[in-house]
Subunit: 204 residues, 2 copies
């Protein structure tokens, strides 16, 4: 026997290792956050040597940034919702938001982004830069007043919903059917978009 014991050297066949490292990283950052997730653990999950992670990404922070790239464009979603029917935008946004989160495809990335936004400066900045600016841009385009304030209010309800339903898994919100949740939250979003949000006018 020459070598059923291999010690270094390239593997035969195609090379999808980089992708599986990214997947493992996404999963790890998702579950634990930045610091607790370890390169060694990620490498192990990907069935690979830790040094290979360094080879591909250089250092932990770069790996984090690449793993956490935002998988959806909130700007486009919001614009489409507003274009379709401005007085039902709340419903559409709620439904779309839940649809994206409920789909296993994007879930890990989104979970990680929220989790990391809370503790990691880099992720927090990324949130502001992509999500919030996207929301504001869409609102401005449709001429709503105080787009930035309304944008942050929308973000507050959506982030809170994500935390309650997906991160903390508060029951019964966590396992309620998607349309029920959408119905409960839609009026809130609609008011933040086009309703009255100032003082001295408690009429909704």
């Amino acid at each position: 026997m020459v070598s059923s014991q291999r010690r270094g050297g390239r593997r035969p066949g195609a090379t999808d290792t980089r992708e599986s490292i990214l997947a493992a990283a996404r999963e790890a950052f998702t579950r634990a956050g930045y610091r607790p997730a370890t390169i060694r653990g990620i490498a192990a999950a990907a069935g690979v040597d830790p040094a290979l992670v360094m080879h591909f990404f250089g250092n932990k922070e770069t790996l984090f940034r690449e793993a956490m790239m935002l998988p959806v464009e909130p700007d486009a979603v919001l614009s489409r919702a507003l274009a379709t029917s401005p007085d039902r935008a709340g419903e559409v946004i709620a439904a779309t938001f839940l649809e994206i989160w409920d789909s296993a495809a994007h879930r890990d990335s989104l979970l990680g982004l929220v989790r990391a936004s809370v503790t990691e400066q880099a992720a927090s900045d990324m949130f502001r830069a992509t999500i919030l600016d996207g929301i504001e841009h869409a609102l401005t385009e449709f001429g709503v007043s105080q787009p930035r304030l309304r944008g942050t209010l929308i973000a507050s309800q959506l982030m809170g919903l994500a935390m309650a339903r997906y991160i903390l898994a508060l029951e019964p919100l966590a396992s309620a059917p998607r349309p029920d949740v959408a119905a409960a939250v839609a009026p809130t979003l609609q008011r933040y978009i086009s309703g009255d949000i100032t003082r001295e006018s408690p009429r909704d």
Copy 2:
């Protein structure tokens, strides 16, 4: 000179060290989260040897639990709001919530609780056990329908508000005057308390 160089041994005077360790721990867990916060760092911030932290608290997790004890009783706050005037409970809750968060006294503890709830199982459980159960209890007491679902909806908006205004500091929400923010959010809370939250009735 016998000993301006002291190496171990009790310090003269009163002993408030335990408290200052707790304060430093609260601050550290608050800013960073569980894992990134280190016993050595906490000890240094408290001007004390790391081993003294162990002496008082035994291990890191116990220190975490003791440092993060919830500083307010949501049950009482909600009950009082509902008792005063059920159809203005939303306003009262929003105002009280912002008042507590804006006060520097509770801020660190609350920040830490939210930050840790996202990553730490123990904190997440504590959240469910104290906050959510408190909300549900108050709602049940006043005979609202679906108290648990409404409770989670309320929690979702309040947590989202905390994240947006205090953790991510999204402008202009972060520096808007307290009454303005309260006015913007109050109707949402009011609807979650006493409004219609089911499907097939989009009227608010």
